[in-house]
Amino acid sequence: MESLLNRYRNITVLLLVIAAQLILLAVQVKNNRDIPFVRAWTVTAVTPIASVVEWFRGGSSGMLHNYVFLRDADAENRRLREEVGKLKMDNIFLRNELSQADRARALQVFQSSTQSKTLAARTIGAGAGSGSKTIYVDRGSVEGVERGMAVVTPDGIVGKVIASYPTASEVLLVTDPDFAAGVVSQKNQARGTLKGQGNGPCKVDYVPIEEKVEVGEWFYTSGDDRIFPRGFPVGMVTAVHEAQPFKEIQVEPSGLQHGLEDMLIILSGVHQEIPDTPPGNQPVYIAPAPPDATKTTGAADASGAPAAASGATAPATEADRLRAHYKALGDAQNHVFGENLPGQKPPNFNLALPPAGAQPPVKQNGVQSPLKQNGAPPPVKQDGAPPALKQDGGHPPAKQNGAPPPAPQDGTAAPAKPAGTPPAKSPAVPPGGGGR
């Protein structure tokens, strides 16, 4: 007997190990329950190491980024971001959540604005398996994360927690074929079930063919699944096909568009209304920087023609035009946006500036004031009286689609209109410059 066992020892051990795992598998499948302690051991063993590796990676990557490769670019990037932030604070018309390039900050804003109780989490790893659509985040049961909790970003839903361990949690992404969530369309309130397809877009199933769903329409969580609170953006419809008995609807999940670095786990969800308009946090497309003002002025001077004639100074976007307008307003009143102490008098945003093409003297409050643009900034009185503006140059002013002319730089005289032009009254708010 002993020799028999010795002879077949290898195959015996193999069968025993396989049988043990089959029993383990059968127990899980039959009871539809997991063996939590085995997973907990592995996750608890792996995640601290992953966290340490992530810490080192973040540190070394940050140092490499800041001090070796992109030292100047990073500093410039920071300065520009600060400038954008300051302008946004002073300008309520340009306040837009999408301009927040810093994802962590956007998450913080979203977290403070949403009514649901949330917990910020960071991705620390991907699920095992080449086709895996799960990730691990650095928040676990110690922080109150439980299985079945929703995971979202300001852009939309990300997934749901399918396992919670002491130091980490596993999140099933919306793109996983096993994922499902109740959704409702924004316009016609068509209800359906969002399902992942493994890669790319998701589909919305069980929408009857008589329901009307359009391409470009947004889907929101309906709250029916009791995982996702009602009113969180899901994604935009990219394709709709008529089929029996349900429509075939493709949805581009919005929560995954900006990466999966930081996210929020909803600890306690609160239903919210579905907005009438699509979510504001659309993908940000940063337009190219506006042309350099000095080059523009120089070009205009050299040619003796308005800079707008070449089209080089035309603002690229509405935001650029507004920015130029408010910058001119600030310059005219010696106001530096973002650097004034609280309580100080804000700049007068209704101050009339000479419209492009029209020439001072500007009549305001019944007083005509000549505009003087001879290289020095125009003197502006901030007590409500109109500034004494005089323009004695020999050239017509640069026309920038209604925006004010660029501020003179380096003593270069701004193009001005020839003398003799009849005075024009400046509108309080240039077209598109203030009424939105």
Binding site: V29, V46, G127, A128, S130, D176
Partner: protein, 177 residues
């Protein structure tokens, strides 16, 4: 049969170099393989195809030339991989147990120090691994799963190439008995 230095088949088990590893190597390398698959796809998604745990199981099974060692390493690595996946425990465990066992069985009969032999074996064991996993998902879990032969073959080739390089590196960590 040609008994030159380049022969592949071993005439007896004694001819094979039964490799031993230090304890820390036996523990750290599988753990690193698990970490690799857990951590790296986050930053390099295109590396998701690299089945590092599988490669490590094949390597240890081949060079140790012990079926019990091979299947135990396969079972442990597979269960660890299961723990980090959404599937029930035992799916990767069973597959890698069998891979470890069969790889060790082959290692007993073939000189696995040849790079070409390693390439071919890793290629076939990868396909075996994927097909067996596909069968188990469909048969035991009754879940739909696609098996794309061309893609699997391509991934098998890529994993085999990476495996040969990895095995060369791991060779430097072993103590020949």
């Amino acid at each position: 049969m040609d008994y030159s230095d380049s022969r592949i088949l071993l005439s007896s088990q004694r001819e094979g170099n039964k490799s031993r590893f230090r304890t820390w190597v036996s523990m750290v390398v599988p753990l690193a393989a698990i970490l690799f698959q857990f951590f790296l796809p986050r930053f390099f998604d295109f590396l998701r195809f690299v089945e590092m745990p599988f490669l490590v199981v094949v390597y240890f099974a081949l060079v140790r030339r012990s079926q019990i060692n091979g299947l135990l390493v396969g079972a442990l690595v597979g269960l660890a991989q299961d723990s980090l996946s959404k599937h029930p425990l035992g799916m990767f465990g069973i597959v890698k147990t069998l891979v470890g066992y069969f790889a060790a069985s082959v290692g007993l009969r073939i000189d696995v120090d040849h790079a070409m032999v390693r390439l071919v074996l890793t290629f076939f064991f990868y396909i075996f691994h994927q097909v067996l996993y596909w069968v188990m998902v469909r048969a035991l879990l009754s879940q739909p799963m696609d098996l794309e032969p061309q893609r699997t073959a391509l991934l098998a080739l890529l994993n085999a190439v990476i495996g040969v390089a990895l095995f060369h590196f791991l060779d430097k960590l072993r103590d020949r008995a």
